[in-house]
């Protein structure tokens, strides 16, 4: 029997988010039923709600930074039991048999992973609905264990902002002595600073806005470079092993390439679209440098990141909001007016 659930949905690109009654599926044999405690508000929620990527399905219940408590599990579930603290990120299923899936890279599933919302469930072909809701039903394989002691609200953004920056840090083997720079200080950027620092790297923040120095240092930056200041940019020529570019909108990446050392990589995790202005090949060729992209991270890697955060006491810096304030939060996000992630306290849904 399907499960009635209350959430917040938008009915079109122009509509505001509002209370919405819908149904979750009758749990399948491998399903975990989760009561959602907190859900982070990702910049992509805003893009999807407003159909910025021209692939939105309405009604849409956004949210893919989910922290909750297991309510019940079905018979073939072995890793979870009622009462466990768990997380759900951007994916709730994948084909499980392609090469990337076999390698734990479900985010690059050849058949495309089933995304947590604005997707179509690959087993029943019904739309998926995200974390701005009371409960969610998720296949055990896509449920993460949340380490004891990690603040539940602050842990929510780890499921997207955390893993999106963790995955390139690990793939490009950042560790003690690595020189890492982060472009942009938002939800992703502030996590990149914290995680790179905890991994032992020398960490620099590139920013266009003066006045972020104190915050950035508090988050783990050893150095702040104003990208609008030619002298400061010149001071880091050929310096970095890895630059994580978290800026979610179109911007010129050319000024950052010369700050990469030989064999360095600039990895884009925020902006999807044409590189405007055009990327110049000359500095790439003159130092065997790369421009790459990276998408969230695999499930095993997400668990690794959560365990690392548990060990190092790392959570996101957040502002907890009530769900009725979600539309105002979207407007503030557009102005980068949040330090550094909104997280919805889902108890506010019941109290509404």
């Amino acid at each position: 029997m399907n499960m009635p659930v209350l959430g917040y949905a938008t009915q079109s690109a122009e509509a505001k988010l509002a209370p919405y009654h819908f149904e979750r599926r009758e749990p399948r044999a491998d399903d975990v039923v989760i009561e959602i405690l907190y859900c982070g508000v990702c910049h992509s929620d805003l893009h999807q709600a407003r159909n910025d990527w021209a692939n939105s399905i309405y009604p849409m219940v956004p949210g893919h930074e989910i922290i909750g408590r297991v309510v019940s599990v079905r018979k073939s579930v072995s890793r979870f039991k009622a009462g466990d603290h768990v997380g759900v990120g951007c994916m709730v299923d994948s084909c499980q048999h392609c090469q990337p899936c076999q390698q734990g890279l479900e985010q690059y599933c050849v058949e495309f992973p089933t995304v947590t919302y604005n997707g179509i469930d690959r087993r029943d072909q019904l739309p998926t609905y995200g974390g701005y809701s009371e409960k969610i039903v998720v296949s055990e394989k896509f449920v993460l264990k949340v380490p004891a002691g990690l603040d539940s609200a602050g842990a929510a953004p780890l499921l997207c902002a955390g893993i999106t920056t963790w995955s390139p840090l690990r793939h490009w083997k950042v560790g003690k002595g690595s020189k890492v720079a982060v472009v942009g200080l938002g939800g992703l950027g502030h996590m990149a600073l914290k995680l790179a620092k905890a991994l032992g790297a020398e960490v620099t923040l590139f920013t266009r806005s003066p006045g972020k120095e104190q915050d950035a240092r508090h988050l783990g930056a050893d150095r702040i470079v104003l990208s609008t200041d030619a002298g400061q940019m010149a001071s880091v020529t050929s310096h970095f092993d890895l630059i994580i570019d978290t800026v979610p909108s179109v911007h010129d990446i050319n000024p950052y390439v010369p700050t990469l050392g030989i064999n360095g990589t600039l990895v884009m995790v925020g902006y999807l679209g044409p590189l405007d202005p055009m990327l110049n090949s000359v500095p790439l060729i003159m130092g065997r440098k790369s421009v790459a992209g990276s998408l969230i991270g695999g499930i095993a890697e997400t668990q690794e990141m959560l365990d690392f955060c548990g060990k190092h006491g790392i959570t996101s810096d957040i502002e907890v909001i009530k769900i009725k304030d979600i539309n105002a939060a979207y407007e503030r996000m557009l102005k980068s007016d949040v330090k550094y992630r909104f997280v919805i306290d889902m108890a506010s849904l019941k109290a509404d």
Copy 2:
């Protein structure tokens, strides 16, 4: 005492190459004096002669694919003696103390390597003149040993076209089972096919011109993909570990990115300038793919490549010309009318 030398030079961007008398330096303690037997004609010779990169110094004696015979060595030279068969590539010196130089990556010397022509010698501040000439004087460290049995004329292009494609093949660890594609079938492209094949890779040629199939297969391609044919392009979706893009002029690289597998890299070795049309970040992000650049190769790596070619009997497919035909050869190069490299027989200079 300086050494009078006959060569071919151009006096301006508009002039043709013509006989030119100049002087080589009095050999220094670490110098090797080389009689030039053959010099390859690189596409960049044409760019430099015509000031396409706006950094040309005139008079200019081009040529950086040099094969010759040692005439004499100075007192501190230990690795060469008169009569040895040797090669000289794109560099004749570098700072020798920066980190890239220490790592054998002289091509990425922080102080920039001294290039074989159109450069300024870092010790005497005089212009460097290249291989379209009778003799050259080069510091021992930048002289390569040519393995016995390798055809001298066919070996000349190894010094630039060979190493430029070898270096990325090695850096990105191509070996048995690797899937490599090459874009463009010119001087660099045909060497990339031969070297990738000899390294054990499965090799594909991307080309816009039908009719290259037989030649490409002869050079080592297992598969030819017409990049103008959507069906053929779709047949290699997510397939390659490494794509070496040798095209020397502006072109759209976006169609090749989806043919990279997860973690794949497209490395540009031919075109210097803005990526027009704009590179789209989406396919990079959706598969952790990279666009990189690579410049020639280091001296130790060049020796490794020559030794590999000696062992596998690999040389360039060439058309030997007399030096008086160099201007006509440039015109034919512009029309890609060469299979696959012109090489000047320097004996033709004396006979002129």
